[in-house]
Structures are given as C-alpha cells and as structure tokens.
Amino acid sequence: MEGGDFEMITFTRNKVVSVWRKDDDTLGVHGILEDDIYSLEIDVSLSLSQLEILSIAGKWNRAENSECRRAIPFLQEAVGFKMGEGFTQRVQKLIGRKSCRHLADMLLECCYRARDTARVIRWEAEKERRPDLSLDEVVSEQGDPSSGPIKDFQISSRKPLKRGAGDLPLSKKAMISGEMIIDLHVHTSPASPCSSASVGETIEEAKRIGLDGICLTDHNYVWTAAEVERLREKHDFLILRGNEITTDQGDVLVFGVEKEIEGIIELKELRQEVLKAGGFMILAHPFRGFLTFGVGQLGLTVEKAMERPLFEFVDAVEIMNSKVTEKENRFAAEVAEGLNLQVTGGSDAHAVSGVGIYATRFSDRIDNEIDLIRALKKGNYIPVAFREGMKKRS
C-alpha cells in the first residue's frame, strides 16, 4: 500500500485501569486516561466488602485549560459513596458537574472495575467450596459487570399513565386571560433527576414572573391527572402535562398521548401512537450542538438539514430553547421556516431560574389539555423570549 493510502488518525483515547488487593478488605485502583486533549490519573481505594469509596486522589498531567486543576479537590466529595442503586447518578451529578465530567467518568470506570474485581475474588474464594461454580455464574448472577449508568437508567421512575385530564377544571387565571403565554417545556425534580427545581418552586416562579401556565414535560415520567389537579388547586395556576420522549432521532415533546411510552422508541412508531391518540408532536431542540462546538462547525447547512426525514414526523419545531445557543435556535428557526412547520418556544428549565426564559404565546384561551392540543393544531401561536420581555416591561 502506498503511504498516501493511509488515513490520518484524528483522535486517540486510551484508558487503563488496574486493580489490586491492598489488604483483606481494601482494593486499590489506578486509572489513567490519556487522549489528545486530556491526560489524567486517579487513585481510588474501595472496601472490598461494601464497595465503599475510602479515598480518592487525582491529578492532571494535561488539560483543556489552566483552571481544570480546580476540579481536583471536589473529588473528595465522593469519599464515602457506596456502589449500589443511584451511585452512578450521584457521581455524575456531583463530581461531573462540580468537578469535571472526565474525572467523573474515570472515577466511575475505576469503581466499576473494582466491582468486577470483587466478583472475581468472590469466585476464586468460592470455587474451593463449589468447584462447579463458573465465573460466568458469578458475573451473570449479579448482573452487568461494568455499566452502572445503564442500570440506573433502567430503574428510572416510571408511573402508569392515567390520562383523561382533558376535562380538568379551569384555572382562574386562565379564565380571565385572552392571550396566554405558556412555557411548554419544563422539568422538575425528582421526576426528572437532571432537574434541581421542585414542582412547587417551579410553579411559584412561573406565577411570580407572570406566565399564564406551564407544561410539565419530565423525562420518562408521566404526571397523573390527579396529581396535576392537586397542584392546580394548591397553586391556583394552569398546569398542563406533556412528556419529553427520546426517540432514535432525538427528543420529542408529546402532548395528548394516553399510552405509556417505554424506553427509546423509533420516531415513526411514536408518530403512529400520536396520530392514533389525536395528540401533537414538537421536535425539541433539534440542533442542540455539543458543548464546545455547534452543528454549524460541522458544515451543516439549512438546506441539508431540511432534508432530514425526521421533520416529516412532527407537527412543530421548538425554535426557542434556553439550553441551546442562539445560533442553534436561529438555525432551527430557519429550517422550520424552510419546511413551513409551526414553531414553539419552551424554556427546557431544569432549575427555578430557567422557568419562562422562553415560552409560547397563544392567541387562543387555554384552560385544559384539550384546549392546548386544539390550539397547537390551530397554529395561532408564536415563541417568545418571555423573561427578556419581562425585564423590558419592568
């Protein structure tokens, strides 16, 4: 083969994890991550019996910027964590956000391998007593040998859908309001583990800033009509229900679907369910980019994006979302315009301060979920930068 036939490697990442037994009940784990951008090392000690983190030390050899070193002290916050239900999520949330997601990933990798080791050690200890016991059995009986996040994902809260809230009573505020501004995309805790705002705080903030209503669109969590009704009465505020569903083509806000949607669903299949239920689908943050670069930098043009088949399967596109950049929102708006699709706004709030950053202004009065779907289908609405407008008004 000629030299020129070889392709250039554009990125390499190596991860090495080594586990050894320090004493009868202590495992030592050394993890190294080395790639084109980062070089870091972690040393973790875990108890063998409890799989509890006893100590952590980390260091950067190379990093993205001069301030990455600030992440190291936060690693200590995971000392005392025990592997088990919710472990991965705690590490990702606490270490991943306060410290660094690469350190968090490597810490998890070290802990999973300690768990593997604990199983191998148990198998070695038990095979003397039970010579027929295979390593396969030990690994399999305890489930997945490494991937904690998957387990956590599978056990995420899922409540049976008890819809039929189309006839929910009117919100007093909604009754006296003609034009209505509703935040169609809101996440609350603990229904959405990624959110830090309780539903009560979220509603009170929405009321305080003058929204006319919010739509709870928690991930993989469906509020029952009774729960929402209680919240409406308690807060005297219009609360509607939707769901943010992950499909093979990205996240979709779905309204008016009675059937519970489990796991990841193909967009085409979801479309069939929504059509059957007479509901409505909004493609959420369709061009959400990556943290340090956007879709534009990959050379994606509006024309090319318009060719994506997924747009055939939705009723509207969210073109104002506070979790994406202005450029990405603008790009979504241009694509939606090119395809002549309806457009909406929603904050995608995961914290109280995010509620109402963007919302949708409806010309029609909306008092319940039936009104919402009717209004969405009618198309008399526009996305608005609500908080910004609020500042200007005050």
């Binding site: 554009t10 951008i37 600030r70 998957i150």
Partner: protein
C-alpha cells in the same frame, strides 16, 4: 508482599477521517473478563451512523450474542447530545450487550472529542487571549457555565460573566 494485579482493563479508541464526508471511530476493549471490538462509521456533517460492526473475541459470560443484530437499531441515529441514552435504550440489556453499548458510547465520545480538539486548537496560547477565548465560548453557550469547576464562579475564566 507483592501487589499483583487482580484485574486490568485497556480501552483504546481511535478516530479516523475517511475522505471528506465520513469518519470512523473504533474501540478495542480488553480486560480480565472480555475482549471486544466495535467500529462505527458516520457521515459528515449530520454525524449519522452509516455503519456499525463489532465482534466479541472472548468473554467469560457464556451468553451467545449476535453483535450485528444488537447494533441494528443504532443505524441511522445521529451522534449528538442524547446519543448515550439512545444507545443504551436500543442495545440489549444483557451484561455483554451493556459492554458493547459502552464501547459504542466510547466511539461516539471519540468522534465528539475529535471535533472538540479542532475547536480547542484555535484558542491562543497567550494566557490573556486564552481567557478571553474561553469567556466568549461560555457567553456563546450558556450550557458551559457551571458545567465544571473550571467554568464555575470563582474561576478566572468566567470572572466577567454573569447569567441570570
């Protein structure tokens, strides 16, 4: 007392540019319990997965896995935010399938980081200019603010930034 290893793992992920409009990302995992290889191909600029293959060389877990079948649903999805959830949702739930899903995730992370690297290369070496570049990056993408210790209040990189 010699501290002999009880367990070791090596994972190597490599991203290659194949022509102007496609890339491949491969992941080789070798540890005490298993040895596997996964490779995905994506089309630029959509980063749509146009090909995916894998093989299981060795595993202490006796289950029979049709690797190609496990990957079938991933074809056509786009590498982007949220891809982890999609991969985990589509590739099966057995212990081996979860490992394969993890390797697909590593391939996707490699691809994303290869673009991140290109972006970071544009940041000047001069500390003052670099600080300014990071500030602008955070201003352009508020999701970065408080996303890690380096970009949280108290860090000089975000000194001049205030979000509501």
């Amino acid at each position: 007392m010699p501290e002999i290893l009880s367990f070791s793992r090596n994972i190597c992920t490599v991203v290659e540019q194949i022509g102007d409009d496609s890339m491949t990302s491969s992941c080789r995992l070798q540890d005490t319990l298993m040895d596997a290889y996964v490779e995905i191909s994506v089309k630029i600029p959509d980063l749509e997965i146009s090909g995916i293959k894998g093989r299981l060389e060795r595993s202490v877990i006796g289950e029979k896995i049709d690797v190609e079948d496990a990957f079938k649903k991933i074809m056509g999805t786009r590498v982007g935010p949220g891809i982890r959830k999609i991969i985990r949702g589509f590739i099966g739930n057995s212990a081996t399938e979860k490992q394969l899903a993890y390797m697909v995730e590593e391939c996707c992370s490699g691809l994303i980081l290869s673009f991140t690297k290109d972006h970071l290369k544009q940041i000047p070496k001069d500390p003052k200019k670099a600080k300014h570049a990071f500030e602008n990056m955070v201003k352009a993408n508020p999701r970065l603010y408080k996303s890690c210790a380096a970009l949280s209040p108290g860090s000089p990189l975000v000194d001049n930034i205030e979000f509501d």
